[in-house]
């Protein structure tokens, strides 16, 4: 019994990887954007990790003493070993479901465009991209020297083939290709046509794509990773992608590395792709090795891995600093934690109540308790590194119980004889469900319970399986819950629009709906910025959910590797082919 039941403990650990998986969305980034990302506030490593200086830096913490590097690492001169949660063996950019599979895809395949550190895109497989006046036609000119790792050239036909797999009726990957609105894709999906007229192969290296409707994210959506038709298309027939999926474990692509071996649950081996158009990678061998949260620091310490994603906490940073040879890249996570509320419930339908609940919760204390300096309280549902992020006219909702009480009074909730507020004879009692596997709830629940009791609100808390909470939310059978969202680089989202598929708060504001629609249609970045600034102002005022925190992620890297260009948007995988190894 013990063995079988205690497995639940692992839910906690396992969930980390699932949440990470949401971040692995390949979709959507703006075509062009200014840079206002906060990178590299250099920090003297002697300073304690907890000091204010590091606090706002969110950047690199340098290695201090390379002489402490263990021989296991220094003697491995031709190989980079990256530690990560085990990928699932879906090494195909169309079908992967976890961020770790995507790490493999990012080095084995290449796409028309690739992300830059600031979240904008640059051409990669495409030499140039022409966009028509009406924004409906996109012409990709593929590089002449682009080859797959087997030496065959990347052609427009390969692009067409890849699109056909996307549009296939049995395609079950994470993307929603029909929403790209390519002309004729619907017919291909239904099987009424065997071609997609919206994709025209002009010549070997030129392909023209026409969409029936455009949005700000159309270009990144169309800039797909390209699969070689000769390899993947041998047995493909319209209406059955099984033969393509059968090759998941043996990918062939046009990226800097080629996969040479995969042992499920253990490691993925790569060798440099000599045919890579971006130049042969500097390090001839690359290994992705499975590690877990429990031991990833130990593996770095012993030199068995060169890079790993380590949970950011004061303890861990201090520990890694103590090793001396580890460089840390601390990056804001693309996502945020929030307390969702059913905006249609009589408890929360008044925005004054929602504001009061925000004022009355000491969010800073919660964040400080769990993450120390490595997370921030947020007031809008957007990452601080996004171009759409704004603090102008945004109410910070500093902890202010008096203000909260005043707002509750205004909303008609008055204190009853037992100290609990009442309105229309109904007590202010909130049923709150929290996903138990998030470390934040350890601090959130006691602080929130106390804070709200002070306001005269009774909080009844339960901890529940994540899917169980979401089921209740979908069924609109909930009052308040705690969860977290992942964010895509583009601010367009369906979370806060009335008819949105992910509108977990039952929130509806026609003005927000209208602005979100405009923002999606607008291609000029400055105009988009203004539109989303308005959206966030409204959301900040309405507080459809209590926005709680944005945490950070950390890549801990052995200092022997130099030349990283990592940001929240541009993952370490994009630097693997160019980093240099320090001569020992």
């Amino acid at each position: 019994m013990k063995k079988r039941l205690s497995l639940m403990l692992v839910t906690l650990m396992a969930f980390g990887s699932i949440l990470a998986a949401c971040g692995g969305n390949e979709e959507a980034a703006p075509a062009a954007a200014p840079t206002e990302n906060s990178t590299t506030g250099e920090t003297g490593a002697e300073e304690s990790a907890a000091t204010e200086e590091v606090n706002k830096a969110n950047g690199i913490i340098e290695a201090t003493d390379m002489s402490m590097n263990p021989a296991t690492a220094t003697s491995r001169t031709d190989t980079i070993v990256v530690g990560m949660t085990a990928p699932q063996g879906i090494f195909n950019p169309l079908f992967y479901t976890t961020a770790y599979d995507n790490y493999v895809n990012q080095v084995v395949f290449s796409a028309m465009m690739k992300v830059k550190a600031d979240g904008t895109y640059e051409n990669d497989l495409a030499e140039s991209i022409d966009i028509s006046e009406d924004n409906l036609t996109y012409t990709f000119h593929i590089r002449d020297d682009a080859q797959f790792s087997d030496g065959t050239p990347v052609t427009a036909n390969d692009y067409l083939f890849t699109m056909k797999v996307y549009m296939d009726a049995t395609y079950d990957g994470p993307s929603d290709p029909l929403s790209w609105n390519i002309v004729g894709s619907e017919e291909y999906n239904k099987g009424t046509s065997s071609e997609i007229p919206g994709i025209k192969v002009i010549d070997d290296k030129t392909v023209e794509v026409t969409v029936s409707e455009y949005s700000a994210i159309t270009l990144p959506e169309l800039s797909i990773y390209v699969l070689p038709e000769a390899y993947y298309g041998k047995d493909y027939k319209q209406g059955d992608v099984t033969s393509v999926k059968a090759l998941n474990a043996e990918p062939v692509g046009s990226g800097p590395y080629k996969l040479t071996g995969y042992t499920p649950g253990q490691e993925v081996n790569f060798e440099a792709n000599e045919n890579y158009y971006g130049g042969t990678p500097k390090t001839p061998k690359l290994i992705y090795r499975t590690t877990t949260d429990n031991t990833n620091m130990a593996m770095l310490q012993s030199g068995e891995t060169d890079l790993d994603n380590v949970t950011v906490s004061e303890d861990n940073v201090e520990e890694l600093q103590g090793l001396g040879f580890v460089e840390m890249h601390v990056l804001p996570n693309l996502g945020y934690g929030y307390i969702g509320m059913n905006n249609e419930s009589p408890l929360f339908s008044d925005k004054k109540v929602r504001q009061a609940l925000t004022y009355g919760l000491n969010r800073a204390e919660v964040v400080e308790a769990i993450y120390g300096p490595y997370a921030e309280v947020i007031n809008i549902p957007e990452s601080t590194v996004s171009w759409a992020y704004t603090e102008e006219d945004i109410n910070p909702y500093e902890y202010d119980p008096e203000q909260a009480k005043a707002l509750l009074e205004e909303a008609g909730w008055v204190e009853g004889s037992d100290g609990i507020r009442e309105k229309d004879g109904k007590k202010f009692k909130i049923n709150f469900s929290a996903t138990a596997d998030n470390p934040v709830i350890d601090a959130l629940i006691p602080i929130m319970t106390e804070n709200y009791r002070e306001l005269g609100i009774e909080l009844v808390t339960e901890t529940l399986d994540f899917n169980a909470i979401m089921e209740n939310v979908k069924a609109e059978n909930y009052e308040m819950f705690f969860a977290a969202w992942g964010l895509t680089p583009d601010p367009d989202s369906t979370v806060y629009i009335s008819e949105g598929a992910q509108n977990n708060n039952n929130y509806s504001n026609p003005e927000v709906d209208k602005l979100m629609k405009e923002g999606k249609k607008e291609l000029d970045l400055e105009k988009r910025k203004a539109i989303y600034a308005d959206v966030y102002k409204l959301l900040n005022e309405d507080m459809p959910a209590i926005f709680l925190y944005q945490r950070t992620n950390m890549n801990a890297i052995n200092g022997r590797l130099d030349g990283w260009d990592i940001s929240s948007y541009k993952e370490f995988t994009y630097s693997l082919d160019t980093v240099t190894m320090e001569a020992q």
């Binding site: 497995l7 699932i18 998986a21 649950g265 253990q266 130990a298």
Partner: protein, 320 residues
């Protein structure tokens, strides 16, 4: 005897049907499905419907059940949503890794438990007995992940006796003996910890079983006859102390293949336990149901074996 076995095998059929129905109902009751579990922030309602149709989740549950059972009878457990390959392939990829450490550690725990249990009983309330008892409870007082971490910290990190985790050295490109040696080295620590965890309770059962038998009249008679002590213990007493052990042995069969979820995680061992857990979290029903049925069959076989062995250990028990 053979009649008994045949009857029991026949009984398995309704039992398995019962299990399959209950398990399927549970899978329907569990909140959420694979589509909601992926928590894709850009998933539109239309796309979710498309996916449900592709996976057959839009069909009525009764129809889904019969499709599943029909496929199962032909040896097809369906395709895992998460892994995008046949469930049987997923299971066979990972299950043997789990089996290797489970088998070795079971073997070790049974041997150790038998000896320690017997001596502990023979010298009841001696220092040896007391120390063993205390150690057993110490190991039971801490969760297994904790003991795993403890072992990693002291044995792997500080003393460097074992590798920290994984099943092979990264980048090892060896076959044959070199490969086996490498795996064996990586196995040592997980096997040690698994053994420490399971040997405790087994020791208690062996000790109690022996204590009971030692007090019986025929043992006194055997001693009175002037037989050597270890002849008395191992020839006469031990066999009769085996009954509880046989029961536990039968229960052990599914755990050999079930994987040790927590320790696999701690030691980064690529076993089936974590894969199964992930299938639950992601509501990957084909994998979850398929693996559950696989374990169910093993459970039934294990219990059948222990029922047969009762008769072997104690001929007085007539199999009917």
């Amino acid at each position: 005897m053979s009649q008994f076995i045949i009857r029991r095998l026949l009984q398995m059929i309704p039992t398995l049907i019962g299990i399959s129905i209950i398990v399927f109902i549970i899978s329907q009751l569990v909140p959420g499905d694979y589509i909601t579990a992926t928590q894709n922030p850009n998933m539109t309602a239309e796309r979710a419907d498309q996916l449900r149709a592709i996976y057959g989740l839009d069909k009525p549950p009764v129809q889904q059940y019969f499709v599943w059972v029909k496929n199962m009878l032909t040896g097809n457990l369906g395709e895992s949503f998460q892994h995008k390959m046949p469930v049987t392939e997923v299971i066979s990829t990972y299950v043997w890794n789990s089996f290797v450490i489970a088998f070795v550690s079971s073997l070790l725990s049974w041997i150790i438990a038998a000896f320690v249990g017997v001596f502990s009983a023979q010298y009841q309330y001696s220092w040896f007995d007391k120390m063993v008892t205390l150690l057993v409870f110490l190991c039971m007082s801490l969760p297994s992940f904790f003991i795993g971490l403890l072992a990693i910290k002291y044995l792997a990190l500080d003393l460097k006796l074992f590798p920290i985790g994984g099943m092979t050295t990264a980048g090892l490109n060896a076959g044959g003996w070199a490969y086996i040696k490498d795996v064996a080295q990586h196995m040592l620590l997980p096997v040690t910890v698994l053994t420490v965890l399971s040997v405790g309770s087994l020791t208690r059962y062996f000790r109690t079983g022996m204590l009971e038998v030692i007090r019986q009249d025929y043992i006194r008679t055997a001693r009175a006859k002037g037989l050597k002590e270890h002849t008395v213990i191992f020839k006469h007493a031990f066999r009769n102390a085996l009954l509880p052990a046989i029961t536990l042995l039968g229960l052990e069969l599914p755990t050999l293949f079930g994987g040790a979820m927590i320790l696999e995680q701690v030691f980064t061992w690529p076993g089936i336990g974590q894969i199964y857990l992930a299938s639950l979290n992601m509501r990957d029903y084909p994998l979850m149901l398929g693996f559950t049925m696989f374990l169910a069959v093993l459970t039934l076989i294990g219990n059948l074996i222990s029922d047969i062995l009762y008769g072997v250990a104690d001929p007085r028990i007539r199999l009917k």
